[in-house]
């Protein structure tokens, strides 16, 4: 649940950096434009999520999968995103697999952290 509306904002610094990287070297961006892009990005995430959820439900799945998202992007006319995302996903899957294997190989080390214990904690972990 979202307690405060600010919880839906994406961090300004990261947004600013992403924008800067996608513009020519010497270009700049107004504060208002940056805020609008940040807002648009949140809305985009919600839009894609709800569309993917609808798609998953239509196929009688409860949980959305990576495939649902990629298909939704195509349907929403963002198919240009799909090739890069597919590549990133491959790298991500390989990373997760490697991590799992290296974990299994040194099983004797402490078992204190269980990646499935809490979904939020698991989300953070994947970021490392």
């Amino acid at each position: 649940m979202v307690e405060r509306i600010e919880d839906l904002n994406l961090p300004n610094a990261v947004i600013a950096r992403l924008i800067k990287e996608s513009l020519p070297e010497s270009a700049s961006v107004s504060k208002e434009a940056r805020a609008a892009i940040a807002r648009a990005a949140s809305v985009f995430a919600i839009f894609v999520t709800s569309s993917s959820t609808a798609l998953a439900h239509k196929q009688n799945h409860k949980t959305i999968t990576a495939k649902d998202i990629l298909q939704t992007l195509t349907e929403l006319d963002f198919e240009s995103f799909v090739p890069s995302l597919t590549e990133d996903l491959e790298v991500y899957r390989k990373m997760v697999k490697d991590k799992k294997e290296s974990k299994a190989s040194k099983k004797d080390t402490s078992t204190s952290e269980n990646p499935n214990a809490s979904s939020t904690a698991a989300g953070e972990e994947a970021n490392e």
């Binding site: 979202v2 919880d7 839906l8 994406l10 961090p11 990261v14 947004i15 950096r17 992403l18 924008i19 990287e21 996608s22 513009l23 020519p24 070297e25 010497s26 270009a27 700049s28 961006v29 107004s30 208002e32 434009a33 609008a36 892009i37 940040a38 807002r39 648009a40 990005a41 809305v43 985009f44 995430a45 919600i46 839009f47 894609v48 999520t49 709800s50 959820t53 998953a56 409860k62 949980t63 959305i64 990576a66 998202i69 006319d77 240009s80 995103f81 890069s84 995302l85 990133d88 790298v91 991500y92 997760v96 979904s119 939020t120 698991a122 989300g123 953070e124 994947a126 970021n127 490392e128």
Partner: protein
Amino acid sequence: MGEPKMQPPGVRVPNAETFLPLSRVRTIMKSSMDTGLITNEVLFLMTKCTELFVRHLAGSAYADSFRQQTGETLKYEHLSQLVNKSKNLEFLLQIVPEKIRVHEFQEMLRLNRSAGSDDDDSESGSESDE
């Protein structure tokens, strides 16, 4: 979080690093109605995809307004112009509306009223749902 390297625009190396915080993206996803479980993989993909969207939005707005020029400032108007003409950005029409001047707005109101239609709830704060 490791420091992903800066890349020249256009050259892209696939990677499993994300810039945006996964936890925040999760919160945003959860705010959408009846989202079930969110797997780590899906969360990763959504985060990447949102990053791509930010780049896409900024990059196209700039390219559209300035072509090859450099050193310009990307302003709000450039975004609303892009949103106005792109079919796949239609969902942002209420989020990034074109700005109008107060007297233009008043004129619009006046015309609306004189047109007889009394459904004047269409112009104010309709950004709640969707």
